[in-house]
Every structure is written in C-alpha cells, then in structure tokens.
C-alpha cells in the first residue's frame, strides 16, 4: 500500500477526535461532580438511595424497565413570575401600580424593579421561577434533569423510549410502595388500560399457612388469587418497589433554577412509606 502511513494517521486522528469529543470532554466537564446544595433549603443533593432501593436499581436494570421508561425530564424554557402575596393597606394603589408595570420579566434581575415598586407602594411580592416544557406540563418533574440527578446511579439509565411514563420523579407522584407492588403484580388493577406487562414472577402465590402473611397483596376482585391463597412479593419485588419510591429529582439546583416548594411543615417521627 502506497499511502499506508497517511491512512493510518488519518484514521488515528479521526478516532482520537471522537474519543476527545465523546469521552474526554464530558469527563472534564462533569467528571468530578460532587454533592451540591439545593437552592432555598441548602440541603445536600443528591443523597444516596437506601440500601433496598440500591438493590432495586439492579432489578430495574435486569427486568429491562428502561426499554419502556425513561428517567430524564426535558425543559424548553423558564418563566419568571411576580407573585403578589400581600396587597398591603393601600390595595388600590398597588392595583393601579400593577396595571402599569411590566409583569412579564425575561429574568429574575429584570423582575427586581417591579417588585421594588410594589414594596414601596406597601404591597409584598415574590419573584418565582418556573420551568416550562411538555414534560413539565405532564407533571413528570418541576425542572429538567441535570448531571447531579444521576450522581449515584451506576449505571445511569436515562432511557431512550417512552412507551410508559417517565420515572425520574415517580417517587414523588406515587410514593406508596404498596401501590407500586400492586402495579407490578397486576398493572391493570390500579391503572385502567395500562399496557405494562404484569411482573407476576416477582411474586409468589402460595397457600395461606397458619396466618396470612403481613406482606400479602390486597388485590381487588378479578386479580385476587383463589380463596385460601395469597400473593406475596419476593425480595426482588420489594427492592424494585423501594427503588421506584426512591426516585425523586425535584431539588432546585443552581444549574436548573426553579422556586423551591414551600418549606415542609414540622417533620414528625412517623416513618415514611416504605416497602413492607
């Protein structure tokens, strides 16, 4: 071959350019991300998932859930709103002021002067930031997904297809592990018209012994086992349910700013919903 060296170096250059673009640059960009503070509360984010949920991630992966469920929320824009929280004693003046102010600011800084004027007129107003986009309006999240959301995922399973709904925040929407178990055993029993396959092999149908198991599913008519039998989740089913309940990517972050939800009311010692 006459130009062997040229072909070799051209191929080498092409491969190293793509390696630099697909491996090296992302590594430099987000390879050293660590826990960060969420906006507002300053709580650390993300937190490692509980042990059972980590086992559930492996079940999620092996059952191929990712072929139908993505875990990534998209965002196509953001909106800044000036929210009047208190009209004050001179409501008429505040109302007149609002009528002539620009209440569609492009960003938070642009909203500042309007809020200042409202405050000077005796009212109280907050600046709130909302994310926009089809995924957000479907209720799949309050903001887009960013690299921090996947910090403790090995491997990251963002998914490419959405035969079913996105699961990035499923733990917020459906925080009840028992609901998740029912749904895994018989999707149609809780979601009419669901096309999800039933994962019956994650459960054991067995004869009731001396006493019914506390774990037994409380199945509705038509899905219940024959009398004298009970449906009990296996360890894999419990882990998968714990994993689904643990999925929540709602903390507002610097790189995906949204107004934090109002502070939670006094925390109690009551345990959160967990897989039985």
């Amino acid at each position: 071959m006459k130009s062997g060296a040229v072909v070799f170096f051209a191929a080498f250059l092409a491969l190293s350019a793509s390696w630099a673009g697909f491996v090296l640059a992302p590594q430099i960009q987000i390879g050293r991300e660590v826990q960060t503070k969420s906006l507002g509360s300053g709580d650390l984010y993300p937190l490692a998932a509980p042990g059972l949920a980590q086992q559930g991630a492996a079940v999620f992966r092996s059952e191929g859930c990712v072929y139908c469920h993505s875990q990534q929320v998209g965002q196509e824009g953001a909106r800044v709103e000036i929210v009047l929280t208190d009209a004050g004693t001179n409501a008429a003046a505040v109302e007149a002021l609002i009528a002539k102010l620009n209440l569609k600011p492009a960003n938070v800084e642009a909203a500042g002067p309007a809020v200042k004027e409202i405050t000077e007129a005796g009212g109280k107003a907050n600046i709130e930031v909302f994310a926009l986009g089809p995924d957000i309006s479907r209720g799949w999240g309050s903001r887009r997904s960013v690299a921090h959301d996947y910090l403790y995922d090995h491997p990251v399973l963002p998914g490419t297809r959405r035969v079913g709904p996105d699961l990035a925040n499923v733990g917020l929407r459906l925080p009840d592990a028992n609901w998740q178990l029912l749904h895994l055993y018989a999707p149609a029993s809780v979601v009419a018209g669901s096309t999800m396959p039933a994962y019956r092999y994650l459960f054991e149908t067995r004869k009731i012994g001396n006493a019914p198991s506390p774990d037994a599913l409380n199945l509705p008519e038509g899905h219940a086992p024959p009398p004298g039998y009970e449906v009990v989740p296996t360890q894999n089913a419990k882990a998968l349910a714990a994993y689904l309940v643990s999925l929540r990517a709602e903390a507002p972050l610097f790189e995906a700013p949204v107004t934090p939800p109002p502070a939670a009311v006094v925390s109690t010692n009551a345990p959160e919903a967990t897989a039985q």
Partner: protein
C-alpha cells in the same frame, strides 16, 4: 475508444491500475468549508455555554443561569424560619407552641421582647445568647440561652426571628438578613451572653 487489438501500447483507459494522486482542492470547496466552520464556531460561541458544567439548555451561558436564580433574600422568610425553628433549635426550649416551658424557659407569644418593632435586642439575644434572670410577662426566669452565632447564618437568624414574630398570632414586621448582618458586625467582639439589664440599655433600633 478505437483501440487497436494488435497494438502493444498500454491501454490507459480500461486496464490501467488506478492510482492515488495529489490534486489541488478546488477553491470553492475550501471556501464553503471555511464558511461552515465559521458558522459552526459562531453558533457554539452563542449557544454552547463553553462546556460549563453549570449550563444546561434552555440556558446558553452561565450569565443567563445566574440571572434566573430565584432570589434567596426575598424568599419566604417565614417558611424558612419555621424550618430553622424546628431543626431543632428554638423548639427544644420554647416548644412548638411558642409558650416556652413554665418556670424554665420564657414564652415567645405576645411578649414585648419579641414584638418590638425594631429587632436589635432580639437579634443580639439569638446571636450572643442570654443569661437570666429576666422577667417576661410578670414571671421570673433564671436560665441560660446558648449563643447561635456560629450555628445559624444571617439568613437563618432573620428567618427564625421573622417566624417567631409572625407565628402564634404574633404580628411584628419581618427581620431582614441585612439587619442581622449589621448587628453581627457590631457585636462580633462580644463573647459573654447578654443579660436583660444590658439589653434594655441598648436602643432596639441600634
């Protein structure tokens, strides 16, 4: 081609070995490539965020992300204050109902110390702590409150004071982080807890 089959001359149209040769790139291709390269680089400069790990779509630069940060100073002080109060910090002694512990820790509900329009004394108590005895609503209390200046930030002190001034039927104006910052600066050399007589000598607005 009219090639004579008897001729031994090499046929350079059909049987010749193809060979690679260096040819000059036409100028117009070069121009198009350079224009595309320029447009690509220009687009990246405008929209790419320069590989910053803090820039994600729909934002195109770090500056844009900074402009969209929800204001923390104007955030709901009351809501944050409720969180701080129950962290547990204040709630341990003053209780979630704000009425304190009879005979030991004074109440916060309807107390002049809490409701003073200017919060100077109140900020000093939270930052520096307080040593009894003191009288609150006709009751004598002789106990100690720990200083919180190393634990709570200006924002958190402002939030928790706003909370106790507006919860349980209390109705006094917000305390701002700037006020807390100013008092923290003024009292940074103070190491002992405050006492009631000392605080009464200070103007609340100071």
């Amino acid at each position: 081609m009219n090639h004579d089959p008897k001729s031994n001359a090499p046929d350079n149209t059909s049987n010749a070995e193809p060979a690679v040769s260096m040819t000059t790139l036409p100028v117009w291709i070069l121009t198009v490539m350079l224009v595309l390269l320029f447009l690509g680089a220009w687009h990246f400069d405008l929209k790419g965020g320069w590989f910053d790990s803090k820039v994600y779509g729909p934002y195109t630069s770090l500056h844009e992300v900074e402009l969209m940060q929800p204001p923390s100073g104007d955030m709901d002080l009351f809501a944050l204050g409720m969180k701080v109060y129950n962290k547990p910090t204040c709630v341990a002694c003053h209780q979630s109902h704000g009425k304190g512990t009879p005979g030991q820790f004074p109440p916060l509900v309807g107390v002049d110390w809490v409701l003073e329009p200017d919060p100077g004394r109140l900020i000093r108590i939270v930052l520096g702590g307080l040593q009894g005895p003191m009288e609150v609503q006709g009751q004598q209390y002789n106990n100690a409150m720990v200083p919180w200046k190393d634990v709570l930030s200006d924002l958190e002190v402002a939030a928790v004071l706003t909370y106790i001034r507006q919860e349980w039927g209390n109705n006094a104006p917000d305390v701002t982080p700037e006020q807390v910052k100013a008092v923290r600066e003024k009292t940074k050399d103070r190491m002992q807890p405050w006492t009631a007589p000392e605080l009464l000598k200070i103007s609340p607005a100071d």
